[in-house]
């Protein structure tokens, strides 16, 4: 095995300068990324007056005013009592988890067989599968709407799940094929010799693909959870999800900032622990199979 030691070479002035600049840059980046989240979080607990209070003089002394308020849960309560956010939250959960499960179940079986078998036109088939993912969603949404409409799927949760699956499945097949390619076939052969049948041998190697499958479930959930376009057009009415519901809080004559901030927190919060939980696997998943060891 190659040594993992990091060798330090003589550095030029530019490199030395970069060494100082990069933490500064990263610091700014961190503020840029986290500050809006932080303001959103604070504002969701403020009433309208507090949220828009501005100090008299524009100096740093006025910063304390930002923290000077009495926290209130009225926006959250209002979201779930007046605006039906409970239903939308469930819609979002069902649509994203449902489509992820379907995409991964079908995708892993398809990916496995594409990885293990050789047949004429396999490359063309693989390209055709991914080509459905190449077209921008806007380009296919109109014909898709017409199809869903005639199948009475518009405005239903199954319709939304189906729409997400059409987009997640090709991605699943390609990514999972990479994982299965990385698992030596000899392991399955050994399992068969040990007395397992073909399907049991497949189950035997499934734990080896687990990090990849796990990472992929998360990607599917994130895609569906963040989606706005499918949800407005296919899910509109009966299967409204959180992003669409949040957008509807913006009314022409009245923008309810408190509720919007609270809705933003409700939408973001479930995905943050999920992201942290699978961060490791996500990276492992995306790079797995890239290097042959």
């Amino acid at each position: 095995m190659a040594s993992r030691e990091i060798i330090s070479y003589d550095k030029g002035v530019a490199i030395k300068l970069l060494k100082w600049i990069s933490p500064v840059f990263l610091g700014f980046y961190l503020i840029w990324a986290l500050l809006p989240l932080f303001i959103m979080f604070m504002a969701s607990f403020k009433d309208l007056l507090d949220a828009f209070s501005v100090p008299d003089a524009g100096d740093w002394a006025g910063v304390t005013m930002f923290f000077d308020f009495s926290p209130t849960f009225t926006h959250y309560v209002a979201l779930f009592t007046e605006n039906n956010f409970g239903v939308y939250l469930l819609n979002s959960l069902f649509a994203s988890i449902g489509s992820a499960i379907i995409a991964v179940t079908l995708g892993s079986m398809c990916a496995y067989s594409l990885s293990r078998s050789e047949f004429r036109g396999k490359k063309d088939l693989l390209f055709w599968i991914i080509s459905t993912r190449m077209a921008p969603i806007v380009a296919v949404i109109v014909p898709l709407y017409a199809i869903f409409r005639s199948a009475d799927l518009v405005g239903t949760l199954p319709g939304l799940i189906l729409a997400y699956t059409t987009f997640n499945l090709p991605f699943a097949i390609w990514m999972l094929k990479g994982f299965f390619d990385g698992i030596p076939y000899a392991i399955e052969e050994a399992a068969q010799v040990d007395g397992k049948n073909r399907f049991q041998a497949f189950l035997m190697i499934l734990p080896l693909a687990a990090p990849g499958i796990g990472a992929f479930v998360i990607l599917c959930i994130l895609f569906a959870w963040n989606d706005f376009l499918f949800s407005t057009i296919i899910g509109s009415g009966g299967a409204k999800t959180l992003p669409v519901a949040t957008k509807e809080l913006v009314q022409p004559q009245n923008i309810d900032w408190g509720k919007i901030m609270a809705a933003g927190i409700v939408t973001t919060a479930p995905m943050i622990p999920l992201g942290l939980l699978v961060r490791r696997y996500l990276v492992a998943g995306l790079t797995m199979g890239a290097v042959k060891d």
Partner: protein, 366 residues
Amino acid sequence: MVTVSFNNVWKDYGGGALAVKELNMNIKDGEFVSLLGPSGCGKSTSLRMLAGLEHISSGEIVFGDKIVNTLPPKDRDIAMVFENYALYPHKTIFDNIANPLKQAKIPADEIKRRVIDVAKLLEIEQLLERRPQELSGGQKQRTAIGRAIVRQPQVFLFDEPIAHLDAKLRARMRSELKHLQHKLGVTTIYVTHDQLEALTMADRIAVMNDGVLQQFDTPQEVYQNPANSWVATFVGEPGMSLMEMEMTRMDGDLALAFENKTIKLDLKNKARLTAAGKTKLLVGIRPDKASVSQLEIPGAFECQIYSRQLLGADVLVEVEFGTSRVRAKADTSFVGAVGAVCHLIFRSEDMYFFDAEDGKAIPHQC
């Protein structure tokens, strides 16, 4: 414990790639057979067809009196050791070895007893809680062997099981495997490209080249009476040297013409070559039956030293004359340097004769 037969087995990978051609072989119950050949000769393919991991294009494979062509591996009652070990990376060594027993629904306490017995035999009992990636190559290898021998299958299949070990461990594993097979008495097919493994371990060796079975016989016979010139040069370390010679007459007697010289024949060989009636021959000589000297000896060939390699106890000298190169073993006191002139000598009784056209050995006269 069963007999194994290949009956006219072919393997066609499509596109004109024939991996195995017309393989016929009957392996006796409890026999240790080695499939020997260079890489790509079809030996692994043959083994994989036995295991049921590879489809048989035509012909049949028979275990006992049962044709197993379409039987899946799990129903063949075989145990196999793979060249790359093929351990289950996510399972402990204990679970790796126990897997075939769990599959056979054997009670847990008996599984434990048998796994520990096998682990003791292979000296890996202190590793049972570890996972494959924490093990060295030799330990992985022994785990893979353990997984095969933990149950008593009808047939053992070994696919170059010790090829990746270092030389010292390989020598030890050779005798351990041989001992084990003798103790268990299970019919064993052992694929290797290392002739030393084949010669030392097997009851019979099946030499394969280019998908064709060249010779299937005891190690002794394969070494002493190679069926053709290919087997002659492949088996033996180093292999036989071949020289092209022609039949001629000297003083009205049958003799061999070689590089402007004539070699007299002994009575036995004279009768043998007369019966065969071939004019062009390939004549082989084993390096340890040929000798070189710096002194001029009557009947010796004058030649140049092409290379010399110290083997430890003696020196392997390769000499060149005309278009032929011959290897000979010499005493370490032999001081000839590369390029120097020396004299090669061998006895006509030690010569092997093959037909120059098809390479087949000229049969002995009884």
